[in-house]
Symmetry: C2
Subunit: 337 residues, 2 copies
């Protein structure tokens, strides 16, 4: 039996957290017309396999292929309302890079993305295709922060952090606000956790709109730093985890995101690489939609019954869909029957 987490927080304490519902409401107004309102998917066959009624918020169909567009747009647009700058800079070899590149193109600023020189070619190409400058550095000898800070200092550029930023979190939370408008009566919300920006924004929105909802994070088995951090009551750093979920390889949750997670997230569930591949392949074959490994973690946790969801209504964020076709082919070969 799962007991919903206590959630009626006094307003005074709420104010100490980095993100509130009103930030998310502001973000919704800001991103409207720029971000897609992504569809919500449902599959009777998935429900039968999971023994629950599951609704998928398809952020893999978001612009640039992941929820990251929401946070990047909210951040850069809000900063434009406050001051003038003509360049932004971000460190990322993944979905954040593509989101910042696309948002910058839309909002008319130059984007410089600092990427390791062993970043996968498709991610490099996609980022450049959105018009960004890419600066590559040696992952083992270089210092990406030094490179980024120099650009900020010398050119007055805006740094766009991948998760530990109130505007980024608020933007990420808008997906859950849309989901709950469409499916208001959810018992659970499942969100992949890496740096914690998506789950912090999602849980803030969910607890405001439906206080009785239970929010679970989902991590790869090999990278359970948030589960460990919640158990210990402080942020735990682990070695960079080995997992196919390349979006979930952050070794330590954020300073700003962690207190929100402590207050709003009841548990962190763990899924294996095989469970993610199985769920990703099933979703592609039966639902005809491509979700990347990091993005499928929540769905894998329901499908492989990592908690008792029997008969309940579960919201899941499919957080992204960017996956190298060669890797996808490997996954499909591995599980094809």
């Amino acid at each position: 039996m799962i007991t919903p987490h206590p959630d009626s927080l006094p307003a005074r304490e709420d104010r100490e957290l980095a993100v509130s519902w009103s930030d998310i409401a502001d973000a919704r107004r800001r991103i409207e017309g720029a971000a897609h309102r992504t569809p919500v998917f449902h599959s009777r066959q998935f429900d039968e396999s999971a023994g629950a009624t599951v609704f998928f918020k398809a952020e893999n169909l978001q612009r640039a292929g992941a929820f990251k567009f929401r946070g990047a747009y909210n951040k850069i647009r809000a900063e434009q309302e406050r001051r003038r700058f003509s360049e932004v800079v971000a460190y990322s070899s993944g979905n954040h890079a593509q989101a910042v590149a696309l948002v910058s193109k839309i909002l008319g600023v130059k984007a410089t993305i600092v990427m390791p020189n062993d970043a996968p070619a498709p991610k490099l190409a996609a980022t450049k295709a959105y018009g960004a400058d890419v600066i590559q550095y040696d992952r083992y000898g270089g210092d990406r922060e030094e490179i980024g800070e120099r650009i900020v200092r010398e050119r007055g550029a805006l740094l766009v952090p991948p998760f530990d930023d109130p505007l980024s979190m608020a933007g990420a939370g808008t997906a859950t606000a849309e989901l709950l408008e469409e499916v208001p009566d959810l018992d659970f919300l499942l969100v992949p956790v890496s740096g914690g920006g998506l789950i912090a924004g999602s849980a803030t929105a969910a607890k405001h709109l439906r206080p009785e909802i239970t929010v679970y994070g989902v991590e790869p088995e090999t990278g359970d730093d948030v589960a460990q951090s919640l158990a210990k009551g402080e942020r735990v750093t682990i070695p960079v985890p080995r997992t196919i979920a390349d979006g979930l390889q952050v070794p330590c949750v954020g300073k700003l995101t962690f207190p929100i997670i402590q207050r709003t997230v009841s548990r962190v569930l763990l899924v294996s690489d095989d469970e993610m591949i199985e769920t990703l392949s099933w979703t592609l074959e039966r639902m005809k939609v491509l979700v990347e490994p990091s993005g499928i973690a929540g769905a894998a946790a329901v499908r492989h019954r990592k908690a008792d969801f029997a008969g309940r209504r579960v919201g899941v964020i499919w957080s992204g869909g960017n996956l190298d076709p060669k890797r996808l082919a490997e996954f499909l070969r591995g599980v094809a029957t």
Copy 2:
């Protein structure tokens, strides 16, 4: 320069065709709440690559993974309104089989599907998973029609033809009616052609709702029987074509569908297997959606500029998404960069 096909047909002649707009309107009422109203996709990147503005009606997200559900539901439900029967029978190893199996389950009748004994295992499994009985026959020595007719004769079963049936065509046409409600101002509609049921229904709906629209069929290069038939003014039979588009391997267009195609379809465009694979892979990687080879034919014709669509608004039917993961892996290996 493409000249729109003359389309203002006198009402008298219209009545000679197997399907009219009122049949499609009846079908819409009949399938409402049973078939999905599938979403319409749009991609700025696809538009840039094609030089046109393209809208995709996602029948790959239809129940049982293809537009076939619409026709099968309309047929079986309408026949139930007319007479009593407890069993239906169909010949198919593809999307029609799965659609008839699922519709039968929903409408409470038994389904018997006659399939060749070398049908792919996933299609066999999917059909059985919907609760159908499968009778296998020897493709080279057996006679599937004899088997089907015996079931009709001995058990009073209803035969559900895959395309050459007015109720099936009318059901298929409902997808285009939905598309034009959402995007009314299309210049072109592109539809894959095999037996002709989808394009006959689609073109009937399109010409009613937007008389100035130009409708093109799309066939595999190796299976251009409809292009030949239109040129010759009569139905031409070809050997079963070798193509990856297994849904487009019918060697001759239907008796009832052909006169409709002659009256409503301006041209048939031809696409190669490589063009279908390239478009399917691009669509999966960038739009995160799985479309099967037969289903991608229309998109491939726009993307590979088989006619002058420059600056025009083009509707495309993604007709299905059922594809063996092993085959998909082969396609992705072949084109991965």
